[in-house]
Every structure is written in structure tokens, then in C-alpha cells.
């Protein structure tokens, strides 16, 4: 079986997606699927286990910028911004 859809929620600082626990390449696919949804806003906060090395070229290709922000212990948290 493939993994279930990761949790997505909205808060004041943007749309959050938690892809922890998913095997490669599911985190990357889930993030790209989210940013390609028309209703998705301009800021996404991604909760990961590690740096998504192979996600960065895809974000560059789609004109999204990315920067790390503080997260929980053991978490790698990334803020994506559209067109920045």
C-alpha cells in the first residue's frame, strides 16, 4: 500500500503540510501537489524529517523560494514563498 495523504492545515502564517514519515519520493510529490492546487496561498510551511534535497530543483523550476525556519526537535521546517 502507498502512504496516506499527509495532513494539510491553514494557520495565520500560511498553509502547513506535514510530510514526516513518508518514504522518498512521497514528501516531494505531496509538496508539489499542494503548490499546484489553485486554492493554495502564497506561503507554505513544510514539516519534514530532513532537508528535501531533490525538492529544491522542482521549487526553483516553479518559481518558489525556500528558507528554513525554526521547528520542533528532530524536525526540519521549511517556508516556501511563491514567486519570491
Amino acid at each position: 500500500m502507498t502512504a496516506e495523504a499527509p495532513p494539510v492545515w491553514n494557520s495565520a502564517d500560511g498553509t502547513h503540510i506535514d510530510v514526516r514519515g513518508l518514504p522518498p519520493p512521497e514528501p516531494m510529490v505531496a509538496v508539489i501537489a499542494l503548490i499546484e492546487r489553485p486554492e493554495t496561498g502564497d506561503i507554505i510551511i513544510v514539516h519534514l524529517e530532513r532537508e528535501p534535497v531533490f525538492l529544491f530543483p522542482e521549487l526553483d523550476e516553479r518559481g518558489w523560494s525556500y528558507e528554513p525556519i525554526p521547528g520542533d526537535p528532530g524536525e526540519f521546517r521549511l517556508r516556501l514563498t511563491r514567486g519570491a
Binding site: 522518498p24 510529490v29 530532513r50 531533490f54 529544491f56 530543483p57 528558507e67 528554513p68
Partner: protein, 424 residues
């Protein structure tokens, strides 16, 4: 150092230095030129080729060791740590493998082409050593794998198979002057089955479960068909090797049927991925990959026909061409033309410059030329084999050489763009 700089440094530290995978890929591109050139020079000998020293054998090994294995090693060193979520402990084995393998491949294929036992033996020993270093480095990574058990299983099986491939290869090399083996043709067939389907096939199928969903932007496929296919493939290798060594056609036919089952499971998984992909425009690279997917069962069907004793003109040479060029080379060239710009984009930029986009690093014209000439070779050479026509074989080899030169052009452009400074 800023948080962002630390982050980018950390992200890039998970990648190998670009020079490591790129040296394998560049060598593969150059060896592909040599393989087609050797086939062109040996076209007259290819008709009725049944193994043994000569230019066709040298061309086969320039293709298998020089192109397929070098590509697989470069991809394994770069991608396996990402798939297993475990970095390589040391970089020197990767560099050592390269510097052992390249001169060894040159020596081995020179020895095969010119019938020089010394060069043949030195080359075989060098390749065996390089593959053992590679196997040890990859085994260390697989042992620590925390993710993707199906990919890891394919990796372990490929490493197990490689020892048998090396043993048979060294025995065949020694046998070229010492006549140790009672039946050289049987050992050569077992060597071919294990090397092409066993080692290269397992790596190609295993990495597909990560790379194809990644490039297609699709969820990972259901695991069960992949596992069934994996065990069918292992059973196929066992039957095929036994059938070749014991010269029992029924076992070879059973191996082909098991292989068809394994291929069916794999292709069902790939079709599942394809149907759910987010990226609709997959580009020329996946035209090559999809053609390779079609040729995989076609080669096994031809193998089954040969095992059942059906008359196929040029059957053995046609089977070898379908497996090595039609399936493996076509597949790897398709994947490589996606991997190279992708890796380059992760290493490009920096120094305050903006990141390089994959599309900016992918020159279109060389890839169109490569695909056109590659497909021309795929059409003309089988026709030449079936018709027993050396002129067609030469024409096909020229088309193949043109495709290889176009691919070298592509690799060169990617490398130059990787080094080019970027500004916002």
C-alpha cells in the same frame, strides 16, 4: 554564518561532490562512442557471432561495462544514499572505483578486440577489483538503510549476483588462452544472463521504484506487485543460470517465463505511476524510457522462442541487441538525461547567484539528435542481423555513433552550464 547559509550548506552536504557522479556519467558517454565505433569496425564479424574474442565482443563490453555499469555506479553512489537516507561514509571508494574501472575497461576491451591475453587478464582483474570496492561501499550503505526496503532488496540482490558475474567473467577471460572451461558457450550465456538481467536489470528495476515516481511526480506504487516481481526475477536468474550452465533448454524457457512475470509486475507498477503522475509533459527522456519498457518483454519473448528451439535468423545476436541496447541502453539514456540536469541544478548557482533551473541546464537539440539516431540504430541493426547484411549493420552502427556523439554534446553542455556563473 546565516541560518540560510547553514541550511544550504547542510542540504548540499547530503550530495556527493558533483565531480563524483559526473565523472562516471561523462565516462559512460565517451565509452558509448567507443562501443558504436567498435561495432562499426566489427560489423563483418557480427554476422553469425556466437561469442569468442573479436570486435563484437569488445563492442559488447564497451557497452556493458563502459556505458551501463559506469552509469549504474554513478547513479548508485549519488542516489542510493538519498533513497536509504544514509550518507556514504567515505568518498575515496567512489574515486577508487572510477580510476580502477576506466583503464581496466580499456585494457579488457583492447584485449578482446586484438586477442591479447595479457591485456585481457589485466583488464578483467582491474574490473573485478573495482566492482568489489563498489560492492563493499554500497553494501555498507544498504546495511544501514532505514527506508525503501524494496529498493534495498534489489540492491542486495544485485550485489549478490555481481560476485557470480565476476567469477564467470574472470573464468571466461582466463579460458580464452587456457581452455579451462568444458563449455565456453554455456558459461558465456550464464555470464550474460546474470550480468544483463541480474546485475544491471536489478539495479534498473530497483532504482525505477524511486526515480520514476520522482521524475513523474507520482505517489510510490503499491508494494505487492514490486515484491512479487522481485522474487519472480530472482527465480528467473536461478533457472536461467542453471539452464545455461547445464545446457537444459527447458530451464531456460522456464527462466524466460519467470522473467516475463517479473517484467509484467514491474511494468504494472510503472503503469500505475504513469497514470497518477502530476507532471503531464514528461519530455523526450520518457519517450526513451517507455520504448525501453516495451523492449523488456520483447527481449524475454525472443529468449523464450530461442529456448524453445524456434528458428529465428540471427537469434542470439538479436537477443543480445534487444536486451543490451533496446532495453538497458535506451532506459539508462532516458534516465540519465533527466538525472544530469537535475543533479547539475542542485550543484549550480551558489556564491550568491540564483539557482539554476533544470530546464535551463537541459539543451534540447543534442537530445533530439540523440533520440533520432538512437531509434534509427535500434531499427536498422536488428534488420541487418536478421537479413545477415553487413552494410545495414554498418549503417546502424553509424547511426548509433551519431547518437553517442550527440549525447556527449549534451553532457558537455550540461557541464559547461553547471560551471557558468549566474546572476539575478
Amino acid at each position: 554564518m546565516t541560518v540560510a547559509a547553514t541550511f544550504l550548506g547542510g542540504a548540499k552536504s547530503r550530495l556527493l561532490p558533483a565531480s563524483i557522479p559526473l565523472r562516471f556519467f561523462a565516462a559512460a558517454a565517451l565509452f558509448q562512442c567507443l562501443a558504436w565505433l567498435m561495432l562499426l569496425l566489427g560489423a563483418d564479424e557480427l554476422q553469425g557471432f556466437q561469442g569468442g574474442l573479436g570486435r563484437p565482443l569488445a563492442a559488447v563490453h564497451l557497452l556493458t561495462l563502459g556505458v551501463l555499469v559506469m552509469t549504474a555506479i554513478g547513479a548508485a553512489f549519488q542516489l542510493l544514499p538519498v533513497a536509504t537516507v544514509q550518507p556514504l561514509r567515505r568518498l575515496w571508494p567512489a574515486r577508487a572505483v572510477f580510476w580502477l574501472a576506466v583503464p581496466a575497461i580499456v585494457a579488457l576491451t583492447y584485449g578482446m578486440s586484438e586477442g591479447e591475453p595479457g591485456a585481457l587478464a589485466a583488464g578483467a582483474a582491474g574490473i573485478a577489483l573495482a566492482m568489489l570496492v563498489f560492492a563493499a561501499a554500497i553494501a555498507d550503505n544498504l546495511r544501514r538503510a532505514r527506508s525503501l526496503p524494496l529498493v534495498a532488496a534489489h540492491g542486495w540482490a544485485a550485489l549478490a549476483v555481481v560476485s557470480a558475474v565476476l567469477l564467470l567473467g574472470v573464468l571466461l577471460a582466463v579460458n580464452s588462452w587456457a581452455n579451462l572451461l568444458p563449455d565456453q558457450a554455456s558459461a558465456a550465456l550464464a555470464h550474460f544472463i546474470l550480468a544483463a538481467y541480474g546485475f544491471m536489470g536489478l539495479l534498473a528495476l530497483g532504482f525505477s521504484y524511486v526515480l520514476v515516481p520522482m521524475f513523474a511526480m507520482s505517489p510510490a506504487p503499491p508494494r505487492l506487485p514490486g515484491w512479487i516481481g522481485f522474487w519472480l526475477a530472482l527465480a528467473g536468474f536461478a533457472f536461467g543460470t542453471a539452464g545455461a550452465l547445464l545446457a537444459v533448454d527447458l530451464l531456460l524457457a522456464a527462466a524466460a517465463v519467470l522473467g516475463l512475470g517479473a517484467a509484467g509486475c514491474h511494468l504494472a507498477s510503472m503503469a500505475w505511476v504513469w497514470k497518477r503522475r502530476l507532471r503531464k509533459r514528461m519530455g523526450l527522456s520518457f519517450v526513451l524510457v517507455r520504448v525501453a519498457w516495451l523492449v523488456l518483454p520483447a527481449g524475454l519473448l525472443l529468449g523464450l522462442a530461442l529456448a524453445l528451439g524456434l528458428p529465428v535468423p540471427g537469434g542470439a545476436a538479436l537477443f543480445g541487441f534487444l536486451v543490451l541496447v533496446g532495453w538497458l541502453l535506451t532506459f539508462l539514456m532516458g534516465i540519465l538525461q533527466r538525472i544530469l540536469p537535475f543533479l547539475a541544478s542542485m550543484h549550480a548557482g551558489g556564491s550568491g547567484g540564483r539557482p539554476a533551473r533544470v530546464s535551463e541546464l537541459t539543451p534540447g537539440l543534442p537530445l533530439k539528435l540523440h533520440a533520432g539516431c538512437h531509434f534509427a540504430a535500434m531499427a536498422v541493426i536488428p534488420a541487418g542481423i536478421v537479413a545477415g547484411n553487413a552494410a545495414l549493420l554498418r549503417l546502424g552502427a553509424v547511426a548509433g555513433l551519431a547518437s553517442a556523439l550527440a549525447f556527449c554534446w549534451f553532457v558537455l553542455v550540461v557541464m559547461l552550464r553547471l560551471r557558468a556563473p549566474r546572476t539575478r
